[in-house]
């Protein structure tokens, strides 16, 4: 199951050139980009690992792309996303966040239904991959 999250989740995966253009747009808006990765892409997991610090004062996408590539080389089978942070007063939050890398094989999520008090249904989702311990999911060796 192909996981979609964040900006452009309705589009097919962006290629490097398109990613570069999006980053250029973010930098032109004065947003700072950062790269994050995870092997626990549960929609409720907002805490992905940081790949280095957020990059401030950049003017061109080449610098961010360099980090994206480095992260892909190190973690080819994890989810990687690029965030763009707007520090303007009133926003002070992510304005854009999109996935730039995904594992080759995505087993998807199991939906668990639990019957509670008065036959109330409770739903929860669990990634099939998250049965393995962190660092060994999605076919990662070691």
């Amino acid at each position: 199951m192909r996981i979609t999250q964040g900006t452009f989740s309705f589009l097919p995966d962006l290629n490097d050139e398109e990613i570069g253009l999006q980053i250029d747009y973010a930098l032109n808006q004065g947003w700072a980009c950062s790269v994050e990765f995870t092997d626990d892409p549960h929609p409720r997991n907002t805490y992905w690992e940081m790949w280095g610090l957020p990059m401030f004062d950049l003017r061109d996408a080449a610098g961010v792309m360099q980090e994206v590539r480095a992260c892909r080389t190190t973690y080819p089978d994890r989810y990687i996303k690029v965030n763009a942070f707007d520090s303007t007063r009133g926003f002070e939050t992510m304005r854009m966040s999109f996935i730039v890398n995904r594992p080759a094989d995505e087993p998807g999520f199991r939906l668990t239904r639990t019957e509670g008090h008065a036959r109330n249904q409770h739903y929860s989702t669990t990634g099939y991959a998250s049965n393995a311990p962190e660092g060994r999911r999605y076919g990662a060796k070691d």
Binding site: L58, D60, A61, A62, G63, Q66, E67
Partner: protein
């Protein structure tokens, strides 16, 4: 290959808007003939390169890393700023921006600090020009554990692999750059353009002074220009002469004396001062310099002759 295809070089030249930049360069910078010639050559190369690419004659992007060497105050930084604009107009770099750094910005203070610091600077400069002032400080031969070497290696790697993303300009004084290149042969071979900045002629320095004053809304009066020429002639013979920078300092001190003169005049006479008086720098303001003093010999040996009035006794009444 279609040999009959043609391309309009003059048209490309016009469309790039580069003529305006080059003319501006000619107009704004006094002297520096070899520098201007080289910039024109580079501009021509890039236009020809663009014409070639229109006819599918691929040859890879030319290397444009440069080294500016010359004495202090010969305009290296000023030209570097212009270079970013020239390269941007020619479409060689994507952004018209220049990141100016020195050793402190590249080299860390402990093990493992240098690489991230250097990479950070490189990332900031991506798409534009990275200007490394006093580049020879990167390499400290007397300390074999110096982290400068690490910064140099990362720089060289990026200069080689990401030529499309970044143009590196090194700058420094001629003799020390020479030593730097001797100990880092990799650097010399990766830099295509070594541009030598000559010292200014005396006439050019006076011209520069005139333009600086213009920019600050001052002017020389009738005698002051000749006096300043005389000042330059004397000053160039003294040690620690830093070309345009010395001129700027001399002018700043002349402004100081002008202010003192006006102030003293106003206190004694109480007459209002008009615009002309406020703008005018007289011969007397310049002649008060220590360069004209009798004790030139003493001045030349005291070690700080380039700041004749630094540390001198404060002016009389103000």
């Amino acid at each position: 290959m279609d040999w009959a295809q043609t391309v309009d070089l003059a048209g490309l030249y016009r469309d790039s808007g580069i003529a305006a930049v080059l003319d501006e360069l000619d107009r704004d910078l006094v002297g520096l003939v070899p520098v201007k010639t080289r910039i024109r050559e580079i501009a021509a190369l890039l236009i020809v390169e663009r014409a070639r690419s229109q006819l599918d004659l691929a040859s890879g992007a030319p290397t444009l890393h440069m080294c500016f060497s010359g004495n202090p105050g010969t305009g290296k930084t000023t030209v570097a700023l212009r270079m970013a604009e020239v390269l941007h107009r020619l479409g060689y770099i994507r952004r018209n921006h220049l990141v100016s750094v020195t050793r402190d910005d590249l080299v860390g203070q402990y093990i493992g600090h240098t690489a991230p610091k250097t990479r950070d600077v490189l990332k900031r400069a991506m798409g534009g020009v990275l200007f490394i002032d006093e580049a020879y400080y990167l390499y400290r031969p007397e300390n074999e554990r110096d982290y400068g070497q690490e910064a140099i290696e990362i720089l060289l790697q990026t200069m080689e692999n990401q030529r499309d993303d970044l143009v590196v300009i090194l700058a420094g004084y001629t003799s020390r750059m020479e030593t730097f290149f001797q100990s880092n042969p990799g650097f010399r071979s990766r830099i295509a353009h070594h541009i030598e900045f000559p010292d200014y002629e005396e006439g050019e320095l006076v011209e520069i002074a005139g333009r600086m004053l213009d920019g600050m809304h001052y002017e020389f009066d009738a005698g002051a220009r000749e006096t300043f020429a005389e000042y330059i002639a004397r000053r160039t013979r003294q040690p620690n002469f830093a070309n345009a920078r010395s001129v700027r300092n001399a002018l700043d001190r002349a402004r100081l004396r002008q202010a003192r003169r006006l102030f003293a005049g106003a206190l004694s006479e109480g007459a209002p001062i008009d615009t002309t008086a406020l703008m005018r720098i007289t011969s007397e303001d310049i002649r008060a310099s220590r360069v004209f003093g009798e004790d030139m010999a003493a001045c030349a040996t005291d070690g700080a002759p380039h700041e004749p009035h630094a540390g001198a006794s404060p002016p009389g009444r103000i």
